[in-house]
């Protein structure tokens, strides 16, 4: 393997800017003549807007616009990636805490903030808000969305936005020696990217430019074009590398508002959210999962029966896709003859939930894996053994009609067991847990890349992927270096501008190394083909006798670097050789998800821990995370993603949850009251490892990797807590308070 190509831990492309403070994030971009925007919100969740008086706000020096829904086209335009249900500004009624009812644009941030405080919104707080799964399923609850928004939807008279029925086999007819049934709760959590969301917009001739911290610039372009009735070519989206996304930045939020404001004042406008406002812009769906697991006495799975109720927010964003994609794989990587899955997307008067690393899988896996543990304990079978007994083998079609198992998964599980020393004697008061997670990669995809080999032998890669920390730039540069023989420091990777880079569907589902990676690879191959033609011309050799790969041109009588042949072929005028690559993952119309899995992310997480009897604090002694990555294109980046995902998983497992008051207001809004793991909350030892069999569909056998290590942290930790204390807790997070109370209750019961 080459020193700079695939398989080596080269330094991050873009790393220099990140360690010198010169990396330009959205908030660092200065637009001249820009107006600063501040949102006007109410300190309540569900309220009827009676009137809005902007006169005092308009008197503040420097204020240029106070925008309300009345200033927008009527009816107020709505948008969304799945359903067009989110209004540009609240109209008639606010649906969640923090939903903007107006926005101010002023010459300074101070003036915008002052004026926003002076906008008088006469409103009536409405009782009976929908804040929980029980509320949403209660027919007596008010409807979150106007049924008129849901024509021809038989569920329009309920708060069930969609209901999904998946499965195979006949659960009703299955006979089991043991049936374990339990209900598990997963909390609302927020992404907490360190970079808050930010947006800018500016008129541009007869079009518009929109800047956003978005992960999907081309989706934003499409939505803005539709809202403004502009051709795509007149909507330019600039998307600087996001400062962390984790799914929260996938879909448009306030960009449409900024676009309408920019056109109205005919000047650039800029809105940088506070962290608190970012909490109110995106979150992960809470979930209640009831699961019945049927097994034979020897531990063989007979059936799995799930009912998963996901609490989405007031507008769907991508939440319903989270529900369908997450619940579809509820039974996990196991061989289960009969599976029934009923999953609901529930509307509520809360922050719109959206994609969040794991995309619904952490919620359902928490229930499935925990229930398997209960079954193992009841049957007296080792928890690891029970899982291995049912695990799908390579090539097995464990979900009928979908992609067969694409990894030697037992290798991953055995590696995790070995690293946690499964079966070794435990110190007193300690427990171990192990759990298996499976997530499908993208079910459809479309990525294009252009690679330009320039006259001096350097190269530029164009890609519409967003590099939000996962390291996509580095991986694409490594692929180009490998294929073209151009040193890494002579490769530039251009991203983040729809007027420059070719189309990419999106940056999600850990797809980019596989889908965009293949597009980059094919673009390089297109360059190689032209170099082969040049070599044929220059050396008088038939093209069929020339092989170009790995950076070199192989002629019958020797090898030459691609770069040398290219330079010679380009001649005195110079110029460049341009290659285009396209990668499609086609839809499958009759598939329940619209397409099969491009690959699976497979992870096994194992922990050893002890629980402080006095405080309920969980002390994780060792945390092992092993993922089947196909091939690690850059091992340090793989470790960084795995370790980060593991610690993020610990967040929702032991500390994080959004707390609502009776009126649906977020009580722990901001960094003081909502805690994410710090360097003092880490496992004493965190071990990550990769299984590499080069069996993925991406370049050189790579699979996507960025979510796996988060998927089953919760069940692994809870299982270990059970072994350490005897307690079974089915609600997350396992905060010291919750664990301490459970310990106290169990003492009371035994007294």
């Amino acid at each position: 393997m080459s020193a700079t190509g695939v398989g080596s831990s080269v330094a991050r492309v873009g790393g220099f800017g990140r360690v010198t403070g010169t990396q330009e994030y959205l908030a660092d971009i200065h637009l001249s003549d820009v107006l600063h925007v501040k949102l006007v919100t109410l300190d309540c969740s569900r309220a009827r807007i009676l009137s809005i008086d902007t006169s005092a706000a308009e008197q503040v020096p420097g204020v240029r616009l106070v925008m309300t829904a009345a200033d927008l086209p009527q009816p107020v335009p709505r948008f969304g990636p799945q359903f067009q249900d989110r209004p540009v500004l609240a109209t008639g009624e606010t649906k969640y805490h923090g939903e903007p009812v107006a926005a101010v644009a002023a010459e300074t941030k101070d003036a915008a903030e002052e004026a926003a405080r002076l906008v008088r919104v006469e409103h009536e707080v409405l009782a009976g808000g929908v804040f929980s799964v029980a509320d949403a399923l209660d027919p007596a609850s008010p409807l979150v969305q106007d049924p008129a928004l849901r024509p021809d939807d038989p569920l329009a008279g309920t708060n069930i936005r969609r209901q999904h029925d998946f499965g195979w086999g006949d659960v009703g007819a299955a006979t089991a020696d043991l049936v374990v049934e339990n209900t598990y709760q997963f909390p609302m959590v927020t992404h907490f990217a360190i970079e808050p969301h930010g947006f800018m917009a500016a008129p541009d001739g007869d079009g518009i430019v929109v800047w956003s911290t978005i992960q999907h610039p081309f989706l934003l372009q499409k939505i803005i074009a539709k809202l403004l009735d502009l051709p795509l070519s007149k909507v330019r989206v600039v998307a600087p590398d996001p400062g962390g996304g984790f799914g929260g930045k996938q879909n448009p939020k306030y960009e449409p508002l900024l676009a309408f404001m920019a056109l109205r004042v005919d000047r650039p406008v800029r809105l940088i959210l506070t962290l608190d406002e970012s909490f109110q812009a995106a979150r992960r769906a809470a979930c209640e999962v009831r699961v019945r697991t049927g097994l034979r006495a020897d531990g063989t799975l007979v059936f799995e029966d799930f009912e998963a109720n996901f609490l989405a927010g007031a507008y769907v964003d991508i939440a319903d896709r989270v529900v369908s994609k997450g619940s579809y794989l509820a039974a996990g990587p196991y061989r289960v003859p009969a599976v029934r899955i009923l999953a609901r997307t529930l509307l509520s008067h809360t922050t719109p939930s959206t994609a969040f690393r794991g995309f619904g899988i952490p919620q359902v896996s928490w229930a499935r894996e925990s229930n398997l543990d209960e079954a193992a304990r009841t049957l007296g079978i080792d928890r690891l053994e029970l899982r291995l007994r049912n695990l799908a083998g390579y090539g097995e079609e464990f979900v009928p009609g979908d992609t067969p198992a694409d990894g030697r998964w037992s290798q991953t599980v055995r590696k995790a067991a070995e690293l946690i020393e499964w079966g070794a004697p435990l110190a007193p008061g300690r427990g171990r847990g192990i759990a298996i997670g499976l997530k499908s990669g993208p079910t459809t995809g479309l990525s294009y890349s252009t690679v330009r080999l320039l006259a001096d032998g350097s190269a530029t890669v164009f890609s519409g992927t967003s590099d939000m920390g996962q390291g996509a730039r580095t991986v694409f540069a490594q692929i180009a270096s490998q294929e073209l023989g151009v040193p890494l420091d002579r490769i530039a990777v251009v991203m983040g501008d729809t007027s420059v880079v070719p189309y990419d569907q999106q940056t999600s589902a850990s797809r980019s190394s596989v889908l965009m990676g293949n597009a980059v690879l094919r673009a390089c191959r297109a360059v190689q083909a032209q170099v082969a033609a040049i070599a044929s011309r220059l050396h008088g050799v038939n093209e069929s006798e020339i092989v170009v790969d790995g950076g070199v041109v192989r002629l019958p009588d020797g090898e030459l670097p691609i770069v040398d042949v290219a330079k010679a072929g380009l001649g005195r005028l110079g110029g460049e050789i341009t290659g285009h690559g396209e990668m499609r993952k086609e839809a499958v119309p009759d598939h329940p998800l619209g397409g099969t899995a491009a690959f699976f992310e497979f992870n096994c997480t194992a922990v050893e821990l002890e629980v402080d009897e006095g405080t309920g604090h969980i002390d994780i002694v060792r945390h092992v995370t092993v993922s089947d990555v196909g091939r690690a294109l850059n091992p340090i980046q793989v470790a960084g993603q795995d370790e980060g995902a593991a610690v993020m998983g610990l967040g929702h497992t032991i500390m994080e949850h959004i707390i609502l008051d009776e009126e649906g207001r977020i009580r722990n809004l901001g960094a003081i009251d909502y805690r994410i793991p710090t360097s003092l909350d880490l496992p004493r030892q965190l071990v990550s490892a990769s299984i590499e069999n080069a069996d993925g569909p991406g370049p050189y056998g790579v699979k996507g990797i960025s979510e796996g290590a988060l998927l089953v942290v919760s069940p692994a930790v809870a299982s270990a807590v059970t072994e350490a204390t005897g307690l079974v807790i089915r609600d997350l997070p396992l905060t010291p308070q919750r664990v301490w109370e459970a310990m106290r209750e169990s003492v009371m019961e035994t007294v």
Binding site: S9, A11, R12, G14, G15, F16, G17, R18, V19, T20, G21, T22, Q23, E24, Y25, A27, D28, H30, V60, P61, G62, D110, A111, E114, H191, F192, A193, I194, E195, P196, D241, G243, G244, G245, F246, I272, T274, L275, M468, G469, Q470, G471, I636, A639, G640, E643, G644, A646, V647, M648, G670, A671, I672, I676, P677, T678, S679, L680, L682, L686
Partner: protein
Amino acid sequence: MSDRLHIELTVNGAVRALDVAVHHTLLDALRDDMDLTGTKECCVVGECGACTIIVDGRSVNSCLMLAVEADGAEVTTVEGLAVDRRLSPLQEAFLETGAAQCGFCISGQLMAAHFLLERNPHPTLDEVHDGLSGNLCRCAGYGQIAAAVLQAAERGAT
């Protein structure tokens, strides 16, 4: 609308004289008035550490300090770590261990680490975690960041 005061301070070795709004933080002044955008804004309540800088030898959350309080102060920001585009050993170590992912917290992490190593040139792993505990990172598991600090310390760097 707002009162302004004149201040003079030294930032990364250069003297800066400017008028600042009395209610603006040092973070505001660095980013908006001095165009030093390497220092990042996230929580603005002193919890995340993204805005960490060094003021008169002390590590400070610049979102919690008024700009007028920095009159006469000596300030170092992330832009002051590299000399003539030559990275400091600490910055080099962050690159080598993969510590910077999205990078948004990294300015603050670097400044906290810089401060730690000045106080304690040979910290243990626990001391590194303790010293950087006020700096949140959402991408990484903190392991690669701590490894970078230890690696830089080994090379005698600050």
